[in-house]
């Protein structure tokens, strides 16, 4: 019997606290050559897709633009259209916000990408919570949590109606959508795209996010966790599919993961520790502390002990980034860790935040990845390298061949579209006159 196949995607390591820029091998986060290198590497590794995140406002800290991590990125769909010219099979996924866009324009842009890439487009649907980001847009304002998902769900539904308004036979169709969020009508100008329905990804772990994904997404981009928590999440999400008339295979669960390879497990652990020190500079350690405490802690020594004052729960110090949910509890945990092990501020932050998901020799990492997939903790992974543009090279050269030997990863692309790579069923055309 054939073994459960692993899906792999590559996340461009740009604006991300795990991206190491203070390394001689770190290249540009904006030159097209960096995107081209990563995408070609992912395609050489026969990956399912290449993934771009989105940011619509530069992050701010204490009213000033955050300057310690990589800043600046291109507009996703435009870069992916260019990458369609230098790749042949690789799926191309853009994160695009449903709060600060409109269904007609985005449906057209994604259908265009699907045509220009011959069926390789994907859309990662995200929503935005804050008036801070809204200051860059006509739409402006703030949506509370429930409204964000209501808007996103209706947005996605409208986009799917637009895609389906053109029949597979090619006749131009009219559309009319009327709901609480959108009242739109007209004629959709793009012929039905190669995938019919480009792949839809949903990022988010909340109950609303899971339900939204179960109802409408093809892939869920989730947080990586332990095997046990992964299985629980997997079972929960797959269990929600039946009520929408969907099969378990219709939604792929792909956690975002980091990795560090070495000649041996010990060597990899040593490298991983070195990378953590690069990721958490002394300045970043103080910043991480301020994000929990919500206070100006610039006077503290990163190599000294943690502050004994408590966090400010109502702080607005951090903007453009998700606030820590329960700062007082986090602070208590960090203090306990620091006291138990005698750790400085920087050591505590390194120990407490963002440890790499998979660390080891290529054989160790390949086995661990397979275990997650074989035991239904995931269907695959969105890999987040820590270096631009060479961060995926070692994985493709050293881990992919081992996964292939184990019979859990493709040895060639068998289809041309992203839907075919992911093993998704052909979409059922739901078009017709409104």
């Amino acid at each position: 019997m054939s073994r459960k196949q692993i899906r792999l995607a590559a996340h461009f390591p740009g604006v991300n606290s795990t991206t190491v820029w203070a390394d001689p091998r770190s290249g540009s986060q904006i030159d097209f050559s960096s995107f081209e290198h990563l995408a070609r590497t992912a395609e050489r590794g026969l990956f399912d897709f290449f993934f771009l995140a989105e940011g619509l406002r530069l992050r701010e800290h204490a009213g000033r633009i955050h300057d310690l991590d990589v800043v600046g990125r291109p507009e996703s769909i435009t870069v992916l259209n260019a990458l369609a010219a230098v790749t042949d099979r690789l799926g191309l996924a853009a994160t695009v916000n449903a709060t600060f866009n409109e269904p007609y324009e985005l449906a057209r842009r994604l259908a265009s990408l699907d045509h220009l890439s011959a069926g390789r487009a994907a859309w990662n649907v995200v929503t935005s919570s804050d008036a801070f980001t809204g200051e860059n847009f006509r739409r402006g304002g703030y949506l509370d949590r429930a409204d964000r998902y209501a808007r996103a769900a209706e947005f996605l539904g409208a986009v799917r109606e637009l895609w389906d308004s053109r029949s597979p036979g090619g006749e131009p169709g009219a559309f009319a959508h009327s709901g609480p969020q959108f009242r739109i009508e007209g004629s959709f100008p793009v012929p039905r795209s190669p995938q019919g329905q480009p792949v839809v990804i949903q990022a988010g772990d909340s109950a609303e996010g899971r339900e939204f994904a179960a109802s409408a997404a093809d892939v869920i981009f989730t947080r990586h966790s332990t095997l046990e928590a992964g299985r629980e999440f997997y079972a929960d999400v797959k269990g929600r599919l039946a009520r929408y008339g969907r099969e378990p295979g219709d939604l792929k669960i792909m956690p975002g993961v980091t990795y560090v390879l070495g000649d041996s497990d010990a060597d990899a652990q040593e490298r991983a520790a070195g990378i953590r020190r690069q990721q958490v500079s002394p300045q970043n350690a103080i910043l991480a502390l301020e994000q929990v405490w919500g206070r100006d802690l610039s006077g503290y020594d990163p190599d000294g002990p943690l502050p004994d004052i408590d966090p400010d729960p109502d702080s607005t110090l951090v903007q453009g980034r998700v606030r820590v949910a329960d700062p007082v509890a986090v602070a208590r945990k960090w203090r306990a860790l620091s006291e138990a092990k005698g750790l400085s501020i920087r050591q505590t932050v390194i120990e407490s935040t963002g440890r790499q998901s998979f660390v080891g020799s290529p054989a160790t990492v390949a086995a661990a990845l397979e275990e997650f997939v074989a035991t239904d903790a995931a269907d695959g992974f969105i890999l987040v390298p820590h270096l631009t543009p060479g961060g995926l090279d070692d994985f493709v050269d050293q881990v992919v061949p081992l996964l292939q030997e184990r019979g859990v990863f493709r040895t060639e692309y068998t289809g041309t579209t992203l839907r075919s790579h992911l093993g998704l069923p052909d979409p059922v055309w739901k078009g017709g006159t409104p």
């Binding site: 904006i30 310690l68 291109p74 507009e75 259209n81 260019a82 324009e105 045509h115």
Partner: protein
């Protein structure tokens, strides 16, 4: 004196919505590039038809090397922040060859595709388009060229003093900034405005690097060019930085005297100071662009009027336009 003015040539290449749109567009772009044309336009409206123009030109950017890429981008029902980011990104993926031709969406049918507001009168749409052009320049400038420092000692990736909020307040929208995209290779991608309609003319005079006009005679073209230059001066601009091209749909099958006569007309109008060049809208894409590049351009070269190869790498280089210094860098220097 006028003979020292370089001649600029451009062509429209929108080639339909079919599944082979990328391949056909690329074939036309290569024809134009082999003839060393300044740039290609790809027309579009908010309602289509066909694929998004900026997407099509991004798709062919890696497969071309020198020719400028100018999609039509509408400003009425789009977000200025997204629009400027997409144009800046086209500049990044083409390594400094991007422009955008600003257009508005005057129809009720276009307004109903979004359903947010009825279509305002055309004059207001062009006023808003001007504001989108202005905020786009501010956002492109909101990262100074040397904002990225990667200073390991202080742990700083950027010098935040070189990133600027733009705090733009227009009549219909506001933008805080800065952009998410670092300053593009050209500093400011090239702004093209179709000024054939009077409603667009003041916006062209105020914001365009390249204005397209239509005229039945050299005298009419000269008068329009003078009007645009006066407008530019009134807006405090150097008219030498506003390039005026005659835009005309040409069917070389029926054009009297053929491709050679077209070369004579271009040479005459350019030499007489009526225009800075010509924007060809081929009646039949493949046929007319092929004849234009092989015959008309060849004739202009014989007369020493048009470049035989690209001399620079960016669209600004081709057009003889300076790469602008960030407006915020200037403000900083004088502060």
């Amino acid at each position: 004196m006028t003979s020292d003015r370089p001649l600029h040539l451009a062509a429209e290449i929108a080639s339909g919505a079919g599944p082979d749109a990328a391949r056909r567009t690329l074939a036309l772009a290569r024809l134009a590039e082999a003839a060393a044309l300044d740039f290609l336009t790809h027309d579009d409206t908010f309602a289509g038809p066909g694929l998004d123009a900026l997407a099509v030109l991004a798709r062919i950017a890696p497969e071309t090397r020198s020719v400028g890429l100018v999609p039509t981008v509408t400003t009425t029902h789009t977000e200025p922040f997204h629009v400027q980011a997409a144009v800046a990104t086209l500049d990044w993926v083409s390594r400094g060859r991007a422009g955008w031709r600003i257009a508005v969406s005057p129809t009720g049918a276009e307004a109903r595709l979004v359903g947010r507001r009825p279509a305002p009168p055309t004059a207001e749409l062009w006023q808003e388009a001007g504001e989108v052009a202005e905020v786009s320049r501010k956002l492109w400038d909101s990262w100074e060229d040397d904002a990225e420092i990667r200073d390991v000692t202080t742990g700083r990736f950027v010098d935040r003093r070189k990133l600027h909020h733009v705090d733009f307040q227009g009549a219909t929208f506001s933008v805080k900034g800065p952009s998410i995209v670092p300053r593009p290779p050209q500093g400011n991608p090239v702004t093209v405005v179709d000024a054939t309609r009077p409603a667009a003319r003041d916006t062209a005079a105020h914001h365009a690097d390249v204005a397209l006009i239509s005229a039945a005679s050299a005298e009419e073209a000269a008068a329009l060019r003078a009007e645009l230059h006066r407008g530019a001066r009134a807006h405090g601009r150097d008219p030498g930085q506003l390039c005026v091209l005659l835009s005309s749909t040409v069917d070389l099958d029926v054009y009297e005297g053929g491709a050679g006569a077209l070369a004579e007309l271009i040479a005459g109008w350019h030499g007489g100071g009526a225009v800075d060049g010509f924007h060809l809208v081929p009646a039949v894409g493949e046929r007319d662009l092929e004849r234009f590049t092989s015959e008309t351009v060849a004739r202009l070269r014989e007369r020493g009027l048009f470049r035989t190869d690209y001399e620079g790498t960016t669209l600004r280089d081709h057009l003889g336009l300076a790469r602008p210094v960030s407006q915020y860098a200037k403000a900083g220097a004088s502060a």
